[in-house]
C-alpha cells in the first residue's frame, strides 16, 4: 500500500510538472489534447481491469462511452421550453431544468448537466447489467463477438436516430459546472483548470482500481481469469463477480463519455464506432493487459499523439501496426522488466512463453 501511495504521488507530481512545463514554455495549448487523452484514459483503465485482470474481452466499450456522452448531450441541449406540460413544469419545479442562452442569443430550457450526467451514467450502468448477464456467460470468440455486436448496435442506433442528430451528432453542449467556479468546459480561458479536473478524475479512478486489484476482490477477479472452475471451487461466485466488474468498467466509460462530451461541447457517431472500441482494447494490450500503469501511460501517449494529428492519414494504420507488433513480440506489453525474455520466448518458441 505504501508503494502504491508513492506511485500515485509520483504520477500527480508529473501531472503538475507537465502543466508547469507547458505554461512556462508558452505551450499551454498542449493541455487541450492532454485533457482529452485523460478522459479517454478513464475508458482504458476501466477496460484494463475488465480485460486485463478479470480476463473478459470487450470490443464494445465505445458503446458505453457513447451512451454516457449522447444522453448527457441530448438532455442538456434538447430545448424543452416548446413542450411545456405538467412533466416539464414538474421537472422545473424539482430544479432539474435550467435556462441558458444559445449561440445566437436565443434562450433554451434544458436539463441541468448534473441530473443529465447522473441519468446518463445510471443508464449505461443499467444497460451493462442487462446485457452483462447473458454476454459474460460466453467465452473466447463468442464473448468478443457479443461485445462487438453490442458496440455495433449502439453505433447503428446513434447513426439512424434523428433525435440525436444522426450522422451530425449533437453540438452546442453546454459546460458542466461540477462545483462552484469549477466547470468542465472547452473554453480556452479554462484550459488549465480543465486539465487538472480531467487528470483529477483519472487519478481518482486510478486509486480506486489500484485499491481494487490489490484487494480480496482483485485476487478473486485474477483467479477467475486464471482458472474459473478453481475460483468457483474456492467459493467465489464467478458469474456475479464478472457481471460486477463489467458494470464497473462500463461506468468508467460512461463517466468519461459524459465529461469529454461537455469538454468538447459535442459528440458524434465516431465516438461509438467499432474502431474506437478497438483502439481502447489496443491500448490496454500495448500497456500489458493486466497493468493499469502501462495502460494509463500508453493511453496518454497514443491519444495525445493521435489527437494532435501526428499520425496524419496513417492514424488508424499506426494503431494497427503497433497492435500487431505488440501482440506478436510482447503479448504482456512493453512496460515490463522481463520484456527481453518474452521477446526471446516469442522468437524461439522452445522458450515457451506464458499466455494470458
Amino acid at each position: 500500500m505504501k508503494k502504491q501511495g508513492l506511485q500515485i504521488a509520483g504520477f500527480a507530481a508529473v501531472v503538475v510538472a507537465i502543466q508547469l512545463a507547458a505554461s512556462l514554455t508558452g505551450n499551454v495549448y498542449h493541455l487541450t489534447q492532454l485533457t482529452m487523452s485523460a478522459y479517454y484514459s478513464l475508458v482504458v483503465l476501466g477496460l484494463c481491469i475488465l480485460t486485463g485482470y478479470a480476463g473478459q474481452i470487450s470490443i464494445g466499450h465505445a458503446g458505453f462511452f457513447a451512451i454516457g456522452g449522447y444522453l448527457s448531450a441530448l438532455l442538456t441541449t434538447h430545448d424543452l421550453s416548446a413542450h411545456g406540460g405538467p412533466i416539464v413544469s414538474g421537472l422545473a419545479a424539482m430544479g432539474i431544468l435550467t435556462r441558458r442562452p444559445d449561440l445566437y442569443g436565443g434562450e433554451l430550457l434544458t436539463v441541468h448537466p448534473w441530473p443529465a450526467c447522473i441519468f446518463a451514467v445510471l443508464t449505461a450502468v443499467a444497460v451493462a447489467y442487462a446485457i452483462g448477464g447473458p454476454v459474460l456467460k460466453l467465452k473466447g470468440h463468442y464473448l468478443a463477438m457479443a461485445t462487438l455486436g453490442f458496440g455495433i448496435i449502439v453505433y447503428r442506433i446513434v447513426l439512424g436516430t434523428e433525435l440525436v442528430g444522426s450522422a451530425d451528432g449533437i453540438y452546442d453542449v453546454p459546460a458542466f459546472p461540477l462545483l462552484p467556479r469549477v466547470a468542465v468546459s472547452g473554453k480556452s480561458s479554462l484550459q488549465v483548470m480543465n486539465y487538472y479536473v480531467a487528470w483529477g478524475f483519472v487519478i481518482l479512478g486510478m486509486v480506486f482500481l489500484l485499491n481494487l486489484v490489490r484487494s480480496r476482490v482483485g485476487r478473486a477477479l485474477a483467479s477467475i481469469h486464471g482458472a474459473e472452475d478453481a475460483a468457483e471451487a474456492m467459493g467465489i461466485p464467478t458469474a456475479r463477480y464478472k457481471l460486477k466488474i463489467f458494470v464497473v468498467s462500463a461506468a468508467f466509460a460512461a463517466v468519461a463519455g459524459v465529461l469529454l462530451t461537455h469538454y468538447n461541447g459535442g459528440v458524434g457517431p465516431s465516438e461509438s464506432s467499432v474502431m474506437k472500441s478497438v483502439r481502447y482494447l489496443a491500448i490496454v494490450a500495448i500497456g500489458g493487459m493486466a497493468n493499469l500503469w502501462g495502460a494509463l501511460l500508453m493511453s496518454l501517449l497514443l491519444n495525445y499523439l493521435s489527437l494532435r494529428g501526428y499520425f496524419g492519414t496513417y492514424d488508424d494504420a499506426v494503431f494497427g501496426v503497433i497492435l500487431i507488433l505488440i501482440m506478436l513480440f510482447a503479448p504482456d506489453g512493453l512496460l515490463r522488466r522481463q520484456l527481453f525474455e518474452d521477446l526471446k520466448a516469442a522468437v524461439f518458441p522452445a522458450g515457451g512463453e506464458k499466455e494470458t
Binding site: H30, L103, N264, G266
Partner: protein, 382 residues
C-alpha cells in the same frame, strides 16, 4: 515506479519540443480540417488535393501580397472529436488566419463555436443549411444550399406534372440534411412524399428499398445522398423495372458514381454546380473560364476527374485569397469583413454574393439541372 514516471516526463518533454518546433512568423498561416480518410474520404480526398494544388500555385506566383501561404491540412477522419482538437490546435497554436473545411456538416457544427470563440474565419466545405443559418459572425460556407437544389428539382417536377414522389436518402449528414429540407419544401410545392426510406452508406444492394417505393407507385424517385451507395439505388430501381424519372442530389456530382451506376445513370436528372458540364456552357457564362481552368489543372495534376467537392475547397481557398488581397492585410477582422461584403466573386459553385445575412452567398441560380448522356454529365435541356 520512478522509472515509469521518468518515462512520462521524457515523453512529454519530447512532445513539447516537437510542438514548439512549429514557429515561423512570415507566411500567411491557413488551416484545413478535412476528412481525408474515414467514412467521408470521398469528400476530404479531392478537397485536400485541390488545396495542395492551389497553395503550390499561389506560392509559385510569390504568394498573396508577397506573403507565402503556409497550409496545415489535418485529417479528421470525419470524427468530430478530432475536428475539435484540431480546430483548437490550429487557432491557439498555429495561430491560423482561417480554417478551411471541415468536409462534413457534423464536424463543422461541432467547431462552429470554437471558431466564434477564437475569432477565426471558418470557410466550411459542408452543405448543411444550419452552418450559416442562423448566421454566426465568423462562419461561412461554399457549397450551395440544399434548399435551392431541392427547389430546382421541384420546379422541374412541376414542369413534368409530377406530384407523387418517393424519397431515398443516405444515413450520412448530407443525406439527412437534404431529407429534412425535402420534407419541409414538398408541401409548399404541392408535392406529396408517399414513401421515404433511409439507407446505410455501406449498403451492398438496395433492391428491397426501391421495391418498396415501386410498390407505392411513385411517379418519380428523389435519391438524396453523397455516398457511393446512391448509384446502387438507381441501378436496382432500373433492374426492378422502374421507368419513371429519377432525381439525384448535387451529391451525385462525381463521375465515378456515374461510372459505377453504368447504363442505369443515363437520364438521371440532378441539380449541380456548373463544374460538371463546364464544356457545355455558352461562352457568355461568366464561370466558364474559371471552371475550365480548375478542371484542367486538377485533372492534369492528379489524373482523376474533378468533382464538385474539390470545387468547394477551391472556392473556399480562392475567396480567402481574394479577401486577403483586397484587405491588404492578414488581420482576421479585416479579412472577415471583406469576405462578408464580397460580391460577384466567380467560383466553381456559382457567383458568390455574401452579405451580413447570407454567409453562403449562392442562390438557386448557382444550380444548373444536369443529366447523364453516354456516361458523361450534360446540361439538361427542359
Amino acid at each position: 515506479m520512478r522509472g515509469r514516471n521518468g518515462i512520462i516526463v521524457a515523453i512529454v518533454a519530447l512532445a513539447l519540443l516537437v510542438g514548439a518546433g512549429v514557429q515561423a512568423a512570415e507566411p500567411i498561416r491557413v488551416g484545413a480540417i478535412l476528412a481525408v480518410t474515414g467514412p467521408a474520404s470521398f469528400l476530404g480526398g479531392p478537397e485536400a488535393r485541390t488545396l495542395e494544388m492551389l497553395v503550390e500555385e499561389v506560392n509559385a506566383k510569390g504568394g498573396i501580397n508577397g506573403h507565402k501561404v503556409e497550409l496545415f491540412i489535418m485529417d479528421s477522419g470525419a470524427s468530430p472529436e478530432k475536428a475539435v482538437s484540431f480546430a483548437k490546435q490550429l487557432i491557439e497554436e498555429k495561430k491560423v488566419l482561417a480554417i478551411l473545411g471541415p468536409s462534413t456538416s457534423g464536424e463543422t457544427m461541432q467547431i462552429k463555436g470554437i471558431a466564434e470563440e477564437g475569432k477565426t474565419i471558418l470557410l466550411s466545405c459542408a452543405a448543411a443549411e444550419v452552418i450559416v443559418n442562423p448566421v454566426a459572425k465568423w462562419v461561412f460556407k461554399t457549397p450551395q444550399k440544399d434548399s435551392d437544389a431541392i427547389q430546382a428539382i421541384f420546379n422541374q417536377m412541376k414542369r413534368m406534372k409530377i406530384s407523387k414522389i418517393g424519397v431515398l436518402s443516405g444515413n450520412d449528414g448530407f443525406g439527412s440534411a437534404g431529407k429534412g429540407q425535402i420534407e419541409k419544401l414538398a408541401p409548399e410545392n404541392g408535392i406529396t412524399i408517399v414513401a421515404n426510406e433511409v439507407y446505410d452508406k455501406a449498403s451492398t444492394d438496395l433492391t428491397a428499398e426501391v421495391t418498396k417505393l415501386k410498390a407505392a407507385n411513385v411517379e418519380a424517385i428523389v435519391n438524396w445522398s453523397i455516398v457511393p451507395a446512391q448509384s446502387i439505388v438507381i441501378k436496382n430501381a432500373r433492374q426492378i423495372g422502374f421507368q419513371g424519372p429519377i432525381f439525384q442530389s448535387h451529391g451525385f456530382g462525381n463521375i465515378r458514381y456515374v461510372a459505377a451506376a453504368g447504363a442505369a445513370a443515363e437520364g438521371v436528372i440532378f441539380p449541380a454546380g456548373r463544374l460538371l458540364a463546364a464544356e457545355g456552357l455558352p461562352d457568355s457564362n461568366p464561370q466558364k473560364t474559371v471552371l475550365l481552368k480548375y478542371k484542367k489543372d486538377y485533372e492534369a495534376k492528379y489524373k482523376e476527374d474533378a468533382s464538385t467537392f474539390g470545387g468547394h475547397a477551391y472556392d473556399a481557398f480562392m475567396i480567402l485569397a481574394k479577401a486577403i488581397e483586397k484587405a491588404g492585410s492578414t488581420d482576421k477582422e479585416k479579412v472577415r469583413d471583406v469576405i462578408e461584403t464580397m460580391r460577384g466573386f466567380i467560383g466553381t459553385g456559382g457567383v458568390f454574393n455574401f452579405s451580413a445575412q447570407d454567409h453562403n452567398g449562392l442562390g438557386i441560380d448557382a444550380f444548373e439541372l444536369l443529366t447523364v448522356k453516354d456516361g458523361k454529365f450534360a446540361l439538361y435541356r427542359k
